[in-house]
């Protein structure tokens, strides 16, 4: 028989994780350190578990290992570009379904089209948003 205490603990944990989005993992692939700090910090404050990656290659590896619920992806990255990261993610069975939001300063129509064709869910141009607005977009997504 399961002790009521454990049930209580599980319930409390479940409640907390619901409130603070504890169960939601976000992988943030971005080589700009200042964005990693600011947006990363704000997302953590919202209760998400944030994994940071400063380049494409390690980003793909973390995605395979951690299976995040959402990936925020920059396009201009060392080692593997964002486009290549998208390709890699879509190739792998385990990462195929992870939604990806592209967060970049590239705003050529071609880039937008290419990213969406490769399976990105949204395409956000950084300079059009404040960090708080980006966090709001993430919140909206999880709603």
């Amino acid at each position: 028989m399961v002790s009521p205490l454990i049930i209580k603990k599980v319930l409390i944990f479940g409640f907390l994780s619901l409130k603070f989005n504890m169960s939601k993992k976000i992988l943030f692939i971005e080589d700009e350190f200042s964005l990693q700090r600011t947006i990363g910090e704000l997302l953590r404050k919202e209760g998400y578990e944030v994994f940071s990656s400063l380049d494409g290659k390690s980003g793909v590896e973390i995605a395979k290992k951690e299976k995040p619920d959402l990936i925020l992806l920059d396009l201009i990255l060392p080692h593997l570009s964002g486009f290549e990261v998208l390709e890699e993610l879509k190739k792998e069975e385990s990462t195929k379904e992870i939604p990806v939001i592209v967060l970049t300063n590239l705003e050529g129509l071609e880039d937008v089209q290419r990213a969406l064709e490769l399976g990105a869910l949204f395409y956000l141009v950084k300079s059009n948003y404040t960090p708080q607005e980006i966090v709001e977009k993430v919140n909206e997504f999880f709603k």
Partner: protein, 311 residues
């Protein structure tokens, strides 16, 4: 003939395409027109029996046709080149707008963050954020400087001094400046610099810029090892920077010193520069009386060098 060309404003048009006159489509079309008129006249002459020897006329027409085909070929080629230049210019706008926006966005994000999270910021983190702002500002400044230098250079108002400078000291100083940066990238810079002084006649400021540029490129593409060497023989003084990066594909090597050109190797290296560095370096070295060049092997690395005559 020259006056006639000027009347047509051909030179101006060709300058716009940044092509030499003989490759300029407008000029080639002019020649094409003249040849066609010749052929028509020759045909009429035959038809009207003005010229008795038909074979001569036929020969003329044939040779003119051959010539026409050649001109045609050149026109097509020149259009292709024009498309290339426009493509490079479009690429440039694409890249430069990204490059200019990135540091500005970063600074804006940090400031936004700092103002909204005021209560939580300790003096330690505050310092970190200020350093980030400084760094991004520095990036922006360097890029704007590059763009302005190119603009000045092209307007012919760039000031370049020629004085005796100790290249050895400059190289040493540069390497010192790059030490921390290369360590942060986990790249080892191996330097081979002679003991004795090495003098060249150049502008120290621009020399520094060129060396910075070559080092930046080498560090950007290197996989862990960069070699820098300064040497002299009885005629020349040679400075070399060698990296162990992916190298430059053979068919792209001829464009390497072109303005806005960036190697498309599928990675995002291309988008971290402005496409102006090597173009600027070549112009500057040539203006100071030196030579610049490179050798590169695909997947093995590149070696960029410049040389000055010994004084």
């Amino acid at each position: 003939m020259v006056n006639f060309l000027e009347d047509l404003n051909l030179k101006k048009k060709c300058k716009k395409y940044s092509l030499p006159l003989w490759q300029c489509p407008d000029f080639l079309f002019l020649i094409l027109g003249i040849i066609i008129i010749f052929i028509i006249l020759a045909t009429f002459a035959v038809l009207l029996n003005k010229v008795k020897d038909v074979r001569t006329v036929l020969l003329i027409i044939l040779s003119l046709t051959a010539f026409l085909m050649i001109v045609d070929y050149i026109i097509i080629k020149s259009f292709e080149r024009m498309a290339d230049t426009t493509r490079l210019q479009l690429d440039f706008i694409h890249i430069i707008s990204h490059q200019l926006k990135t540091p500005v966005t970063n600074i804006a994000f940090i400031l936004d963050f700092l103002s909204s999270e005021k209560e939580k910021i300790t003096p330690q983190t505050e310092k970190e954020y200020f350093n980030m702002i400084k760094e991004n500002n520095e990036r922006m400044r360097a890029l704007v400087k590059n763009i302005l230098t190119v603009a000045k250079l092209e307007a012919g108002v760039l000031e370049i001094k020629k004085e005796k400078v100790n290249l050895k000291e400059i190289v040493k100083e540069r390497l010192k400046d790059y030490q921390l940066f290369s360590q942060s990238l986990n790249i080892n810079i191996e330097a081979k610099i002679p003991e004795k002084e090495i003098q060249v006649e150049a502008d120290p400021f621009w020399l520094k810029e060129v060396i910075n540029n070559l080092l930046d490129n080498a560090l950007k593409f290197s996989r862990g090892k960069v070699k820098v060497s300064l040497s002299e023989n009885d005629k020349k003084i040679l400075f070399e920077v060698e990296d162990d990066g992916p190298g430059i594909p053979k068919d792209e090597q001829k464009y390497i010193f072109q303005k806005f050109f960036q190697v498309k190797d599928g990675s995002s290296h291309a988008l971290t520069g402005s496409g102006l560095g090597l173009y600027l370096s070549k112009k500057l070295i040539n203006l100071m009386g030196g030579e610049i060049g490179f050798s590169s092997y695909y997947q093995k690395g590149s070696n960029f060098w410049f040389s000055f005559p010994k004084i």
